[in-house]
């Protein structure tokens, strides 16, 4: 039975109980507990079921490497699946649920997989489920999917109510890890004068040293830790954060960290630009590979120690320690010191006479050298272990009753950050571990090492070396940022000497197949020794193939526990050295990262900016239906009470055609181009010749990209001798401004031209319709008569005492003006106009322009259309030697026969479905129906009382009067006649009125 002891526990507050439930049962823990320690304190050994065989599993570790103890935490909108019990602080009222079991944790039908395990060898699903063919979709895959997955998915309508945010920081030195190495590095860098941020993933400073009985400067580690923290807190150039894990290393020293602030947002994502990062992330203890090593109650020796010292929780009353190094003995000693029984220490080493083993023996602990575990006896709880010779095949020599097993397989440096960004690892035979290879570090923008390994993350195990390497790293980090101040002395430390460890990759050495088939490498994914062997046998020998074929290391712990043992198994089977086998690449994040944390504040209303015109509130008041255009919100149409969108569009169109309407045209781009070379520049940007526009006049212009394709259009006005105002489409404002700047800055930098995007300076209102002029004249202040301001002219003055520019241009085919007023004053004019004019939206604008046969960028064009296709040759200056796109348009395919703009009318006036294709005879070599044209826009025209459409048709303009067939997906057919694209006022009398 795991229980809470009567005394001890550095992290817990016995005076403050915390209540929670586990699978509905009411339990109590203490303030300071992790969920894991609280469960153990309550004797909860089985906390989940494994992925494939649904074997009962218990808590193995005490940190982020925990593979088994994943729980569903919380309820409703705050439900979180797969929460790691070992790193989740216990909170009052927490509701915990075990996962991947049905109907209950104790009895799980999935366990049948375990019984069938021999028929479910690694990769079996690649070899079967193929016949009968249709069964795959109807039976097999649904079964596989149901079986897979760990935690329950949150309900479909879940809405996370919590806050998340980001924090950007630029520092000289980031120290990842607040153990004694991290503290020493921070001290060195901080004293040297560098700006330092020190982050520790747990709620405690000092890391393992405190539970490992290390003494620093003659005192217990804990006391030095307290002093170090105090000194760091006093430094103005140093910051410390607990509960903050550095999870990713990216290019140019950009580091990612997650903080669980308390109180504050649920999680905070730190984006840290660090000159250097000290990797003081410590090391992870390895399990040992013996039969039954996955049984609940088998734990890492270090985890047993942590639970004992921090939380006063014992994993059992009688704990057998199995080890291959001296460090493991610390756990045995600690257990006995806590008054618990350690019936046996199973040590794989033939010789174990180091100080720690000696001490253990002195305490009366029986030590069995050269031994191994042949099996763990289990009946719903561990009842004992069978002990055998490490050298043999596993025939049991004795049976030792116990209810818990602590395993000490040696330590693997936590080198993940080193690997995230290109750093290489080297296999170190001496420590039997992958260590950072100083020859191939992850580099920053300067080509130098961006990450400096320190302490046990660099493969050091002795406190003295740990502190020394940490000091060096801190000094080096500060120096890289030109801080050379006195970093002080590295402190002294002493701890029990340790005899050499033995790298034991399987127990016993020559375990037979029966044992190997019960020896687990990856606990969560149920990968066993025999699985890796079979993978190798089938040729999946490259480490990546083995990983993917067996799924070893692909569980939620990302191989933190299983990786090295797996590699060792692979090397053993393939007969190549571990160094030759190599390791798979560690990828960010080091620990799983919440999606909402990545999104940060950008959720809901802040997901993306909404751009509002100065008239936004007025549109809202008018009940506009919005259309997102880029990030702008534009009124699509203004439906009145009881009106459908169609009704409203009809009403708005007729109002413009018969009276007058107003449109918010603010979003159209407005770019000033000025300078001695502006004329020459614009003649290159546009296909036409803006240079020849007279002052006071406007002209329609086209802009192509270098490929020849039409990318934007708009009216250009000549403001002065060397000044032009270029209007772009709504989407074009930023794009075309950038386009102009690009050519000016990178190609024609010697041309004397300035460009300024003044789009948002103005509120622009289009006033369109036969009554437009006299409405405007009623505003007073300007003579807008036909004589004073003819079509395609502009003027400036004051309307209602508001300074404005008035452009006599039209996108509707009606008598029309566009009024540009300072954005802050456009409202006054709109309000006045709205008294007598009908506001209309973008959909109405589309109908109006289509009736007139005007093209719309994005409808008639799609990035593959050239002006010539649209009958816009008149807007291209043929004689001009050059403009952007001219050469592109000279290419074979551009000059040849193409689909060109026409109008399309159905005999019965029906509206052609947009995107419809006109079919031609027969099929192409791929059996696809041939086509000869398509509909680019189609609308119901209230003006003509029928459907109209614009389209691109093969040699269209030469085929007036021909009828095309538009085949629909549902098999029906539309027929339409090719006509002129101008449906309304072809002579343009209304336009010029």
């Amino acid at each position: 039975m795991s229980t809470r002891l009567g005394t001890g526990g550095s992290a817990i507050d016995r005076s403050r109980p915390v209540h929670f439930t586990f699978d509905g049962r009411r339990l109590a823990g203490l303030t300071g507990d992790t969920v894991a320690s609280a469960l153990l304190a309550n004797g909860e050994r089985v906390v989940g079921r494994s992925f494939k065989y649904h074997r009962p599993r218990g808590i193995v570790a005490s940190g982020p490497e925990e593979p088994n103890a994943l729980l569903g935490i919380g309820t409703g909108d705050r439900f979180e699946p797969n929460a790691r019990a070992t790193t989740t602080p216990l909170r009052e009222g927490m509701a915990l649920r075990s996962q991947n079991r049905w109907p209950s944790l104790a009895f799980d039908v999935g366990v049948v997989n375990a019984a069938l395990s021999r028929f479910l060898p690694v990769g079996f699903y690649y070899k079967t489920f193929m016949w009968p063919r249709r069964f795959w979709e109807s039976v097999y895959e649904p079964l596989i999917r149901q079986a897979a997955g760990l935690g329950r998915a949150p309900d479909a309508e879940t809405r996370d109510p919590d806050r998340y945010e980001h924090f950007h920081l630029h520092v000289d030195v980031l120290v990842a890890g607040g153990g004694i190495a991290g503290l020493q590095s921070a001290l060195a860098a901080g004293r040297a004068g560098a700006q330092v941020l020190l982050m520790e993933q747990s709620p405690h400073w000092g890391g393992r040293a405190q539970v490992d009985g290390v003494r620093i400067e003659g005192d217990p580690a804990a006391e030095w830790v307290a002093r170090a923290v105090a000194e760091l807190e006093a430094m103005p150039n140093v910051r410390l954060r607990l509960n903050a894990t550095v999870v990713g290393a990216y290019d140019h020293g950009w580091m990612l960290a997650v903080e669980m602030p308390e109180p504050g947002p649920r999680e905070r994502l730190w984006k840290i630009r660090a000159r250097r990062t000290v990797m003081a992330t410590g090391a992870l203890e390895r399990p040992l590979a013996f039969a039954g090593n996955d049984r609940p109650g088998v734990m890492l020796a270090s985890a047993v120690r942590d639970n004992l010292m921090r939380y006063a929780v014992s994993p059992g009353d009688r704990t057998v320690l199995v080890t291959a190094n001296d460090d493991g003995y610390r756990t045995a000693i600690a257990l006995v010191e806590a008054g618990l029984s350690v019936p046996l220490v199973v040590d794989a080493r033939p010789e174990c006479n180091g100080p720690l083993p000696r001490r253990a023996r002195e305490m009366g602990i029986r030590v069995a050298p050269g031994r191994a575990i042949a099996g763990v006896r289990w009946q719903r709880r561990i009842t004992g272990v069978d002990v055998c010779l490490q050298a043999g095949e596993g025939s049991a020599l004795e049976h030792v009753p116990c209810d818990a097993v602590a395993m000490a397989g040696g330590w693997s440096p936590a080198v993940h950050l080193w690997s995230h960004c290109g750093g290489r690892l080297r296999w170190d035979e001496a420590t039997a571990a992958f260590r950072p290879d100083p020859q191939f570090p992850p580099t920053g923008a300067d080509g130098q090492a961006a990450i400096l390994p320190a302490g046990s993350a660099d493969g050091h195990s002795r406190a003295v070396e740990v502190l020394a390497s940490a000091h060096r790293a801190g000094v080096a980090g500060a120096a890289a940022a030109a801080h050379e101040g006195d970093a002080g002395q590295v402190v002294t430390a002493e701890e029990g000497a340790e005899a050499p460890a033995l790298a034991v990759w399987r127990m016993p050495q020559s375990a037979d197949h029966r044992l190997r088939a019960q020896t687990f490498l990856d606990f969560q994914n149920d990968v066993k020794l025999t699985d890796v062997e079979l993978a190798a046998q089938e040729g999946y020998r490259s480490v990546e193939h083995a990983k993917r074929y067996t799924t070893l290391g692909m569980a939620t712990d990302q191989g933190k526990l299983s990786n090295i043992n797996g590699l060792a198994a692979l090397s053993h089977t393939t007969g190549q050295a571990i160094s030759a086998v190599g390791t798979t690449t560690f990828r960010p994040p080091y620990t799983p990262l919440t999606l909402a944390t990545i999104a940060g504040q950008a959720r809901g209303d802040l997901f993306q900016p909404v751009r509002r015109t100065p008239l936004h509130a007025r549109h809202e008041a008018l009940g506009a239906a919005w259309e997102p255009v880029g990030q702008w919100r534009r009124p699509y149409v203004y439906p009145k009470a009881g009106e459908t969108v169609e009704d409203a569009v009809r009403r708005e169109v007729l109002a413009v055609r018969s009276e007058v309407g107003i449109l918010d045209a603010t979003t159209l781009g407005k770019i000033i181009v000025k300078g001695p070379d502006a004329a020459q520049f614009l003649d290159m940007i546009y296909t036409g010749r803006p240079s020849t526009i007279a002052e006071g006049r406007c002209r329609y212009g086209l802009i192509c990209n270098e490929n020849g394709f039409l990318i934007d259009d708009g009216v250009v006005a000549r403001l002065g001798p060397e000044t032009w105002l270029c209007h772009t489409t709504t989407g074009g404002a930023e794009r075309i401004h950038a386009h102009m700047e690009e050519w000016l800055q990178t190609e024609w930098w010697d041309w004397r031209v300035h460009v300024l995007n003044v789009t948002e300076q103005f509120g622009q209102i289009a006033v369109a319709g036969p009554l437009a002029r006299n409405l405007l004249e009623r505003l007073g202040g300007m003579d807008l008569s036909r004589e004073a301001l003819p079509f395609m002219h502009w003027t400036e003055g004051r309307l209602m005492d508001v300074p404005v520019r008035v452009f006599r241009i039209s996108f509707s085919g009606e008598l029309s003006f566009e009024i540009a007023a300072p954005a802050g004053r456009a409202g006054e004019i709109w309000d006045r106009l709205a008294q007598d004019a009908t506001p209309y939206g973008t959909e109405t604008m589309h109908v109006l322009r289509a009736e007139k046969g005007y093209i719309m960028i994005g409808d008639e064009t799609d990035g593959t259309v050239i002006p010539q296709d649209l009958g816009l040759n008149w807007a291209i200056a043929k004689k001009k030697d050059d403009y952007i796109g001219k050469r592109g348009q000279m290419r074979l395919h551009m000059a040849g026969e193409r689909w060109r703009l026409v109008g399309l009318l159905t005999p019965d006036g029906a509206v052609l479905p947009e995107g419809s294709l006109a079919v031609a005879q027969g099929t192409n070599a791929n059996g696809q129906r041939r086509t000869q044209g398509r509909v680019t826009s189609a609308y119901w025209s209230p003006t003509l009382g029928r459907g109209i459409a614009l389209g691109l048709v093969d040699r269209g303009p030469e085929r007036m009067g021909e009828t095309l067939s538009f085949l629909q997906p549902d098999g029906s057919e539309y027929r339409a006649e090719i006509v002129s694209p101008v449906f309304h006022d072809p002579e343009g009398e209304r336009l010029n009125a």
Partner: protein
């Protein structure tokens, strides 16, 4: 009377957020070689150093780019200054325009300014990175903005008019009373000294 997007909006949290009082704004493009003397005589300001702002009272010249300044003047004085500059620069290659309505100015005040800014911009807002007098053009959330400090506890932010509400809402959310970071404050103040 002109309308301003953030008129009347105010938020109190880790910092106080409000619309700065309206000011005239002028975009001036051209090289210092061409324009600095004219700037001197019509505004009384020397061409600011790269990435800095030059102030005389409420009149400021903010460095936007090697060939671009943003001039801040009291409300209503922009048009007049544009014309004066236009005249004195007539023979110089330049571009000057009244852009008073194009951008919106927000003011953020309180000891939490740097912490709140750090949540929304990738720029270095440490006392070293964003010193008083410096003008930093960068991102605020997903939009472009210019940030400068008037003093240790007052920041001004200029963004385009159309996104004024987005920027305000984003900063207000970042300044949520329960979202303290205490990175640059209170210690941050000492670090400056």
């Amino acid at each position: 009377m002109p309308e301003y997007p953030l008129e009347g909006r105010r938020f109190d949290g880790l910092v106080r957020l409000e619309s700065a009082e309206p000011r005239g704004m002028i975009a001036l493009r051209g090289t210092p070689e061409e324009l600095s003397s004219a700037l001197e005589e019509s505004v009384g300001l020397a061409w600011p150093a790269t990435g800095e702002a030059a102030w005389t009272g409420e009149v400021g010249a903010l460095w936007m780019a090697p060939d671009e300044l943003l001039l801040l003047v009291p409300q209503g004085q922009a048009q007049d200054l544009v014309e004066r500059l236009g005249r004195s620069l007539a023979d110089r290659h330049h571009l000057v325009a009244d852009v008073s309505d194009m951008r919106t100015l927000l003011r953020m005040s309180g000891s939490g300014c740097r912490d709140v800014l750090a949540k929304v911009t990738p720029a270095d807002v440490s006392p070293a990175g964003l010193s008083i007098g410096r003008v930093r053009r960068s991102r605020v959330g997903q939009v472009a903005a210019a940030i400068w400090l008037r003093d240790g506890e007052t920041a001004e932010i200029a963004c385009f008019r159309s996104v004024a509400h987005y920027v305000f809402d984003l900063l207000a959310d970042a300044a949520h009373p329960e979202a303290r970071v205490d990175y640059w404050t209170p210690q941050g103040a000492d670090a400056q000294a």
